[in-house]
Homo-oligomer: 177 residues x 2
């Protein structure tokens, strides 16, 4: 890869990350604004990332690799493992609110076709099956993941209502009981 290409790639990712976190709403961040902030032409972005979804997914994968990759499997009960998994997702979305809001709004507005979702869902189904049996495991996994959707995280950040992580633990333990 040519040096200027790599340099521009990093500049674009840094620019979009900053703009997403600064904006109230991800839709306010236009591709033109990203190009201007990165100091590159708009064509460079679309050539390097395909389209808006590709740019956001690339940044997301990047941040996931940084924050979520080191998973020391502290062996526990399925219930505790689910609590830990969902807590990790929640805090990740708190730390990357703009990015995760944008990600869940792409894919024609539904987060259910992102590659990461299927993986999380499958893991949760496995934990639920081991913890309480297979009845309704698919739906319950969806429901638990719905409780950590980024716009709910954002909503509770703006108008707090108790301790969400405590509520999340409570929810998971009830489901597994």
């Amino acid at each position: 890869m040519r040096a200027d290409k790599a340099r521009n790639r990093e500049a674009v990712l840094a620019a979009v990350a900053r703009l997403l976190e600064e904006a109230d709403d991800p839709d306010e961040v236009s591709m033109d604004a990203v190009a201007a902030a990165a100091g590159v032409g708009k064509g460079t972005i679309f050539r390097g990332f395909g389209d808006r979804r590709g740019l956001i997914r690339t940044l997301y994968d990047d941040r996931v690799a940084q924050s979520l990759a080191p998973t020391p499997p502290t062996a526990e009960s399925p219930s505790d493992a689910a609590v830990e998994l969902l807590t990790r997702v929640w805090t990740f979305k708190e730390q990357h609110r703009g990015l995760t809001l944008a990600l869940e709004r792409e894919g024609q507005g539904s987060p259910y076709q992102s590659a990461g979702y299927d993986r999380l869902h499958a893991d949760l189904v496995s934990l639920i099956t081991r913890g309480r049996g297979p009845e309704n495991a698919g739906f319950l996994a969806h429901a638990l993941l719905a409780a950590v959707r980024s716009d709910l995280v954002e909503h509770l950040r703006r108008q707090p209502d108790g301790d969400p992580l405590a509520g999340l633990r409570d929810l998971v333990r009830q489901v597994f009981s």
Copy 2:
């Protein structure tokens, strides 16, 4: 109100309802398409409903008044009342998938500032408080409502995974237990 205004209002509401249910994705339904289908000019729509959100909210309120208004309160336990409430919401969103998908995608993508949401949340908080106490009631109510979000309803309609209403009953009973 002049007769032509009332006539156009009904034509627009009928057109947008039809187009939303026919479309795979609510974003495919443009305001131009609604105007053409209703046989009116685009200005007529924006004068009568303000903007896209206003049009969708008006249609939603209309349908809610038709389908959800007659609430015969079959007095039961808080848990059963919550099951009934959420089941009613689920089936409403199944019956009006295009409309509810569109509604939850307006409001800058978050359903949490719709007037109807606060009402449902308050009702659920009350039921949860009576059924299991006030701890985490706010969060748990949000989580239960997240389990009936329209894009999850739609996702499970497209790729079924067990009986969602059975799963929903299961979830609510666990939360209340």
